[in-house]
Amino acid sequence: MELDPLLLSRIQFAFVVCFHAIFPVFTIGLASFIAVLEALSLKTGNPLWQRLSKFWIQVFAVVFGMGVVSGIVMSFQFGTNWSNFSYATANFLGPVLSYEVITAFFLEAAFLGVLLFGRDKVPQGVHLFAAMMVALGTFISSFWILSANSLMQTPDGLVLRDGLYYVASWTDAIFNPSFGYRFLHMALASFLTASFVVAGVSAWFIMQKRELAANKKALSISLWLILILAPAQVVVGDFHGLNTLKHQPMKVAAMEGNWETGTGVPLLLFALPDQENQQNLFEIKIPKLASFILTHDWDGEVPGLNEVAPEMQPPVFIVFWAFRVMVAMGMLMVLFGLAGLWLRRGDRYLESKPFLNGLRVMSLSPFIAVLSGWIVTETGRAPWLIYEQMTHAQGLTPSLTGGMALFTLIGYVLVYAMVFSAGVFYLMSVFRGGLETANAEQTDSDVEKAQRPISAANANLDGGL
């Protein structure tokens, strides 16, 4: 069998980018949470805020470290596997990624050191400032990278001359039609991720009756955030979808599992899309609802996949199901937000075992939603790399052979498997240590250890002494 460098490169890119994506969504939200804790601590002088902050900074350090390492890989992936794409789009992609480095990455890297190790070296106000700069850096970073990605979804402001893209309007290109929606949707996703992880971990501590005063505060804050953010995400997601309908109709057709353009299209709750025969098996549907959601008219016309040839359709099964998983997670989140509000009366949310256990499980939900959301977005763009302008095949590195691509794919899988298991293992020990360990008086040897992001956490990796 001939190894296909295109397929292998796509698998490799999807793998490394999904691996990377897990960390930023969490750090973006958590950085802001830490900045808020630091601000509360400075303003009220209540020591509880600082206890919380010290603990969450340690969690942050671990996740951020993994984000940096995997991000460095990403910035070389474009060139190694997609050199034709990089070369053609460099006039836009290059400046945007460079702006990301100079406005975001340097900011994060420099102030991170002060945030993690500088508590005793700088005044409290400066330390708060460092926390704010790190949080700001994560947002600036997502601004640029999402602009780059949105341009590939909804290209604008570019002209194509002799196979190269030139930027005709920087504002049109950077603020391209889907960018605003994507940025908002992603920002909310990051806040939700941090909220659910904080809620889940605090719930776990509360069930163990550890550091009740501080953890109750954390749980309460995160539940308020969830109550507001989760419904907001559903609304933003809806607008995002309407925008996608306008610019990438085939993606929406795949999300809806709709094979034929028509009016009064039903919403499918369940179906097994069968791309070979261009139909669905085992449909469970609500009449006319898809038309209503997408056009706000019960008999509105919704585009179907039959508008393009089968080989120009995205892989329907994946897009269809990934979209349902994301929406299901979104709905569950809304539910938990409401349940939290309901249980507030008489502070039952601090007592209810099923609710606290539910929150523990739900701390995984934002990661599932984010990965499925990206899979909808990216797989739904197939076969296009730049929508309706350049296909995956055209963007591939010409000199790349199947053997080379397979070698690095296996390499990345092995390396990441090791790094990831070590990271998760370590994160677990930070959680087990809890606020108590994070706030323990530091001994000399702890200080000696605490010189790096992940080692800033005062816990022992393999339990030995």
Binding site: A110, K121, S455
Partner: protein, 332 residues
């Protein structure tokens, strides 16, 4: 488009500066990893790691800067070098990952500490070697056709690039040992003084081999250097003078000068290399101007650079300032 300035030269300067920043800054912390297996004892290893721990992260950001900056200003370099060096780039990234993780875990692990020691040393060595081989591959040139790389997966791996790879390993180790002279005291510092002299001999040896070898790899280089006396001969002379300064300052047990002189050695060697290949950025066929991105893209990026980079340099300096001074028993 009417072009009031030739931005290409300015961008060559900025990218050249970023690459030099990366080499000097990540060089001294990669050097710690290379020296690691030879350190006198475990306690010294702790100090070595702590001396670079708060800053290596920012240092490595210059690598990302170089990559993104090349894509922005000289996309041809990005889209030819990376495919051509495909396997080498993978090895470098894998090395950097393992090394980064080792930083994080070594102090946490007790029974498994030795694994992270090896990950740190091995990762640093592999990443450095791969970077050195990239330099060699640049001197060799690339098989291209119509702005696309057309060579094979291992064209970059030749005896010449192996020598440049090992040369950079010795060079980073020298940066690492002179950094230790500056940041430590007592026994470890004395060890660093001794190691520095040995590394200096090694570096000069590789320097000589490469200088003799290069003209045979690339006839253009021969032409440039031996066709009559030219001003560029000052560069190797300055590099040799830096080497002499390293030697004399180590003999006098000075603390800061060895590091500064090593930076000088790197700088003049680097400028010498650029002088050999100028104006070819993707040798043997494409010059700076062939490789450049569109004028308006370079301009757009330049405006941001001029505004932002002073701030960036400012707060980087500030963070170094906060962690200044000798590293003692793990304290800063």
């Amino acid at each position: 488009m009417e072009q009031p300035f030739d931005l290409v030269i300015i961008w060559a300067g900025i990218i050249g500066f970023s690459v030099m920043m990366y080499v000097l800054m990540d060089g001294f912390d990669l050097g710690q990893g290379i020296l690691y297996p030879f350190a006198p004892d475990d306690h010294s290893r702790d100090i070595m790691m702590n001396s670079v721990a708060p800053v290596w992260d920012g240092n490595e950001t210059w690598l990302v800067m170089g990559g993104a900056g090349l894509l922005g200003a000289f996309p041809l370099v990005y889209s030819v070098f990376l495919p051509a060096l495909y396997i080498g780039v993978f090895l470098m990234l894998a090395g950097l990952i393992f090394r980064g993780v080792a930083f994080e875990f070594r102090f946490k692990a007790n029974t498994t500490k030795y694994i992270w020691d090896w990950a740190f040393a091995g990762g640093s060595f592999v990443a450095t070697f791969a970077q050195g081989a990239v330099v060699g591959a640049y001197v060799q040139g690339f098989a291209t056709d119509n702005f696309v790389y057309v060579g094979g997966a291992f064209d970059w791996l030749t005896p010449f690039t192996i020598i440049t790879g090992l040369g950079l390993v010795a060079g980073y180790a020298l940066l690492g040992s002179t950094w230790l002279i500056m940041k430590t005291e007592g026994e470890l510092q004395q060890w660093a003084y001794r190691v520095t002299l040995r590394l200096l001999v090694l570096v000069l040896l590789v320097f000589a081999i490469i200088s003799i070898y290069t003209p045979f790899v690339d006839a253009g280089v021969m032409e440039r250097w031996f066709h009559g006396f030219s001003i560029i001969w000052f560069l190797p002379l300055l590099a040799l003078y830096s080497a002499y300064l390293i030697y004399s300052s180590v003999k006098k047990q000075q603390e800061g000068l060895p590091f500064v002189a090593t930076m000088g050695l790197f700088l003049f060697t680097y400028l010498g290399l650029l002088a050999s290949k100028w104006p070819y950025l993707v040798p043997p066929d494409y010059t700076l101007w062939d490789a450049a991105s569109a004028y308006e893209s370079q301009l757009f990026l330049l405006l941001g650079f001029l505004f932002v980079i002073p701030f960036v340099l400012g707060y980087i300096a500030w963070s170094y300032w906060i962690f200044r001074g000798k590293v003692k028993g793990g304290y800063h």
